[in-house]
Symmetry: C2
């Protein structure tokens, strides 16, 4: 039925252990026997059994990827991450299993992890206080994180993440260079910040810092993750007491569509009357709007590959690599432009420098 190593050994006229050595190279084998073994293996169509190999060697060559499960589904960027990780694993001779678990279900996660199917775990969407990371670490399961926790005990774990500081700095710089001074930021929903959602918090701080560094006043609004949320957020910016912004940076992918819709409804033309810059977004999303949006594309696939490499490095060397930060790439689709000539000049006065965390109480 199934061709085993023993079958190959018989065919090649050598011992089973010699076949193993010849095929894996774990010990020197003469060129002639190696050739005989390889020929026999090829003739029989031998494929080593992954389970047996894993059981004997104590490495399954399987990596797990756990991602929060919820109604939201997978964003395009997350999907790119998963595909990138699967591809990288494949190329390295590993397989990737999906472990959908709620962020709170650390027990369930450790439960499957301790079954020994996976050599290590990639944790997506890491939170500031993340029960999963703590539980895996305490269970001695090798992990690599996408994102960071606040726990110093997790600081030694390998990490990959989007470089939010560089991304938001570039976003603000791009708009400021066009003359904008009132640059608003539409972030994720407020409850995300409360939950310790890493990207939300790091982007908030990075935006505030980037604005402060230029003497600009940060104006940050939290938007529900929906078109309605985006419309409401933009309406709040335009109808508030403060002077309206001339440019908006959006990080909330779903709300971005709402922002564009609300601008269209109000006949505020993009980019003539309002510049829009979507950060940590994806090509597929940026091109879906009318007009298409200038974007700082999230490096989803690269992050997935980097995460796999970080985990494999830990597995093979026992030591964690230095944290990897991938920056977003600016792709100009024409939704940003010079500040309108009639923008209220008062806003050009340098605002007082505010602390970096001011926008995210």
């Amino acid at each position: 039925m199934v061709v085993t190593m023993q079958d190959v050994a018989r065919r090649a006229g050598v011992a089973l252990s010699t076949v193993s050595a010849a095929l894996t190279g774990t010990r020197p084998v003469s060129a002639t026997t190696r050739a005989r073994v390889e020929a026999a293996a090829a003739e029989l169509g031998f494929r080593p059994n992954a389970l047996a190999r894993g059981l004997a060697s104590r490495r399954s060559h399987v990596l797990a990827l756990t991602h929060p499960v919820g109604a939201a589904g997978l964003s395009r960027t997350s999907a790119e991450f998963v595909l990138g990780a699967a591809g990288a694993a494949q190329e390295r001779g590993y397989q990737l299993v999906l472990w959908p678990f709620a962020v709170e279900d650390a027990d369930g996660l450790v439960g499957v992890a301790r079954q020994g199917l996976a050599d290590g775990v990639l944790v997506m969407e890491v939170h500031a206080a993340d029960a999963r990371v703590r539980a895996l670490r305490e269970a001695g399961v090798p992990v690599a994180l996408i994102g960071r926790t606040d726990d110093p005990a997790d600081a030694a774990l390998p990490t990959v993440d989007i470089d939010f500081a560089a991304t938001l700095t570039e976003a603000v710089a791009h708009l400021a260079d066009l003359g904008h001074r009132r640059i608003a930021f539409v972030n994720h929903a407020a409850h995300r910040t409360a939950e310790g959602h890493g990207p939300t918090r790091r982007a908030a701080a990075a935006y505030d810092a980037a604005m402060a560094a230029r003497g600009l006043t940060p104006v940050q609004v939290a938007a529900e993750e929906s078109v309605v949320g985006g419309r409401a957020a933009l309406a709040g910016l335009l109808d508030g007491d403060a002077p309206a912004p001339t440019a908006v940076i959006t990080m909330n992918e779903d709300a971005t569509f709402g922002v564009v819709a609300e601008l269209a409804a109000r006949r505020v033309t993009v980019p003539e009357r309002m510049s829009v810059l979507a950060v940590v977004s994806s090509p597929a999303v940026a091109e879906q709007t009318v007009p298409p949006l200038t974007t700082l594309h999230a490096p989803g696939a690269q992050l997935g590959r980097a995460a796999v490499d970080a985990l494999l490095a830990l597995l093979l060397t026992g030591a964690a690599l230095a944290p990897v930060l991938e920056r977003c790439r600016l792709v100009d689709h024409g939704s940003t432009g010079p500040v309108p000539a009639d923008a209220e000049p008062g806003a050009a006065e340098p605002a007082p420098v505010v602390p970096a965390a001011a926008g995210a109480p």
Copy 2:
């Protein structure tokens, strides 16, 4: 280091084989010993080793999901499918591994399949002539298909798919009930049909049949999978010699955005002057446009679950279930409306019935 079944046996004062029996229920065990075993296992925090279990029982409790790899990435609907499958597998005590392979790389696929890590394979985006399916079948690997092939030899394999006939019939009915008679269909790119892409071909046939059944003339255009492709397709419909349609059904998710954009650019209001109905789409996509689109939502997650169940049924009973067809669900977001009163009356004449495949040469 790792707690084994032998450890539990010692602790409970029984034989190893009794522990196995008590925990898996493969043979009768007295209530008292079962309790003792369970207590011992709980105290030691025993978790059976997945690799050893799989090797001994010859079932790994791992299912594989192979999906075409390419630049396109994962559509929202595909992502929902993957998540649905992963969730269903989880609930059934299985794990899901991702196998990214090109449709042409049947050898690579069979290669990993023969490593024995997975008990069976789910094949996504099945083509009419699909080398992967044929190769897996010939290798004796249990599979379940998402979609269908043209090969009669594959007819006995378990299958799940979108019910394109019901979906397009409902789409045409919905619009016809609103009084539309010139209903166009924007399908996927022409090369998809040539490649034997199942959804493209089945939807084409279903649309033609649904139109023919009502005595309407099918007008089908292939659009490149992009915003530009969608704009071009709509422009072709409006600028052609034939009378312009009063309603458009779109199945090409990327092109849909182009259709909407082109309508906006031409100041053709939706739904007053043109009804738009996106079929086999997703909630996330439908709400991203302005206005949001009335949609026949693709049952991604349900299909994923159904596919897992179909594969497990094959694995457990040895026989394939009957094909499962999941239909799309109409969600009215207001982008369809009554046919304009001034729509050219000549078009209301019943057109000659055309054969079902006429629109997809």
